[in-house]
Amino acid sequence: MESLDEDARLMLRYRDGDADAFLALYSRHKGPLYRYVLRQVRNAGAAADVFQEVWSRLVATRARYEARAKFATYLFHIAHNCIMDFFRRDLRLRRDARSDEAEPQFAEPEVPEYQRPDGIAEFAEQQSALLAALSSLPQEQREAFLLHEETGLTIEEIARVTDVGLETAKSRLRYAIRKLKKSLIAAHAPGSQDLRTARELKAAQLNAST
């Protein structure tokens, strides 16, 4: 609880004009926030954009900040909203790209690499087995896991950050850890010590099921 108070105090000091307080807040939260964003959007370029957007929103709305809840809940709620906005934009771009493909008379639009499914798959393949398994989780489950691992948020706080009920948040986290545990077991099963990539993990799971 001391850390909660300290973060909130820093944010209040920043709100009241102390630039050094922001530096302290940023140093504390930049790592967990960056990984939370990166492992959700699964592309470094897009992650940098979203990460910057989160801090920009925090700066822009600082005058309205009130220390009602844990600061991490406040910060990661902004991040959750930015990521949701990113997914909506990304979906719209992909839809536009698909509809343009249906009309061959127009030139093919330039779609960023991170918006291509093959790009996402490639990103996942560069990860260890656990991160690859995390990457293949449904977004909501991945988010619940990351919020707990990166920030230590409780289920109640995860529910508040992600705007869902307590049971939903609990269920998402439960499914996430179950799937990740399975992937760890598969990766460390005898004869599979060298499994390092998502492709190999998938192949192992396929073999296990047949």
Binding site: K30, R35, L38, F51, E149, T154, I177, K181
Partner: protein, 160 residues
């Protein structure tokens, strides 16, 4: 049915899964991104947060005041003698002011009924005549006659 302690065990924070996750690489934001965000935060701090709404309110107030002043403010009626005054001064000093061609055109071609009283108009024509601008004086006199056919020019030297 889920095993009852699976989630609770995980939430206690010492599960194999958490340990494994903590062993993974922990990427951090690039330094360039750090610098950009810190600059953004300190730049915003230079401007107090209440300044933007205040500036907006001030500009709205100013715009409304300007519109009200234009719509409801006192109107200055245009005086009839405003246009010929320039030439009347010239008539008395015998020197034609160095008006631009556009200004001259505006003076001579304005609606005679609104801009000229007959005597002032004749004085203007006489001034043109004295300045040696007979062609313009003739044209102006013809216009004068079309408006005031019977008005006596008296002693004013309007003819060459």
């Amino acid at each position: 049915m889920h095993p009852p302690d699976e989630l609770e065990e995980y939430l206690r924070g010492d599960s194999a899964l958490s340990r494994q996750y903590r062993k993974e690489s922990a990427p951090a934001p690039p330094h360039a991104l750090d610098r950009r965000i810190l600059k953004l935060a300190s730049g915003a701090q230079a401007k107090p947060p209440w300044l933007a709404p205040l500036a907006f309110a001030a500009s709205v107030l100013l715009s409304v005041a300007l519109v009200l002043a234009i719509v409801f403010g006192p109107q200055n009626p245009k005086r009839d003698e405003d246009a010929p005054r320039l030439l009347r001064i010239a008539a008395h000093s015998d020197v034609l002011p160095a008006a631009s061609p556009n200004r001259k055109l505006q003076i001579y071609s304005s609606d005679p009924l609104r801009a000229h009283s007959p005597s002032a108009w004749l004085a203007d024509i006489a001034a043109l005549r004295r300045a040696g601008r007979n062609r313009e004086a003739d044209a102006e006199f013809r216009r004068f006659r079309s408006v005031y056919p019977d008005y006596s020019s008296g002693d004013i030297p309007i003819r060459p």
